[in-house]
Symmetry: C2
Subunit: 207 residues, 2 copies
Amino acid sequence: MRTEQARSVSRRQKIMESALDVFARRGYRDAAMDEIADAAETSKGGVYFHFPSKQAIFLALLERMANLLQGRAEAAMAAEPDLVAKFDAALLVVIRTFAAHRPLARLFLVEALGAGREFNQRMLEIHADFAGLIERHLDEVVALGVIPPLDTHIAGKAWFGALNEVVTAWVLADDPGDLEQQYPALRTFLLRSVGITISEGSREVGG
Amino acid sequence: MRTEQARSVSRRQKIMESALDVFARRGYRDAAMDEIADAAETSKGGVYFHFPSKQAIFLALLERMANLLQGRAEAAMAAEPDLVAKFDAALLVVIRTFAAHRPLARLFLVEALGAGREFNQRMLEIHADFAGLIERHLDEVVALGVIPPLDTHIAGKAWFGALNEVVTAWVLADDPGDLEQQYPALRTFLLRSVGITISEGSREVGG
DNA sequence: GTAGGGAAACCGACGAGCCAGTCGGTTTAT
DNA sequence: ATAAACCGACTGGCTCGTCGGTTTCCCTAC
């Protein structure tokens, strides 16, 4: 009973890993269920035993990624006392997560948008969640008087958009360099946009 | 001869309009050539007489849009003497263009990303072109000492990304309001990010 | 410790639908 | 008459999801 459940969970996991791989390689539309099944060393029927549809696999992958990112970012922020340091930690965590998982980043940032109407609503929510997270923290910082008042709603969206563009460009590049190298400049830019001016070297990016 | 060419050109135009409509309604993958043909009041063979493939139609649409936007933005900038005013004009033109053509904006910002690997490269170039345009103008402004030095390369990308996110959210929203209302806040945000602080009312948005 | 029953997990051929692009033939304009 | 423009049935290929059947696993009874 216990072992059966465990096996089922691990099969499910394996299918998700394989699906991620195939989706990342082919894109959502061109990923065939047969190929996902092969990659997971099972059959199409086996895949359909664990997931009701192709869409469901993709959605599950999307949720997992969103939760992972948001969880990591919030944990990183919680661990830092200083407000600017909180921000740095979150930005760095997101950039490093994407840097370490380019196919996944591609899936998340590129394929998901164009995969079909069914996914747009969910993507919109995910974007809004992240932008909202930023917005709330900015509100906090404004309330404490650390930075001058500003439209935090648009700032949240704009920050998210800026980060999104930088990572997306890296994802699509033929010869992507090290994404993390873009962190200092992006950090400076974002901080300045809300009225905090800091010399770039004030925090090391050491790993 | 003259009339024949003119007819051919106008047929081509009509096919592009119809294709834009169908692509915007269904998305690239789900848009059938038969439907495009019907919408253009012609047949599939007729469409294939004017375009070699489905991809080619989409690419033509993409180019047209990119040229239109870039042309309008540059013209708007050229017409303004003041540096900040140039920026305002360009931003406003882009926002208004998208605001007036939501389906087209959807196609350009959303569908194009997931339409297939063939389009990613072109999209990357288009993004880079716009970011580069911004970057060059920022360089100019920095050189004149109007704003403090900064990494204009990342700033170009970030500006583009911020604008992109705001417009994309509007494109995907169930109940999109007036995009142009987001202009003042976005403008303030972007200007502040490069070290220019201006009260929001310093330029009216009147149409 | 092992037989056997039942359920969970798995398999893969098949049905059914979809659609880009082709091509031989037809219309229209000059 | 000639060539550009147009038509639409058809081909070839693809793939999601189904379903009847098979295997593997676990648990109980003896």
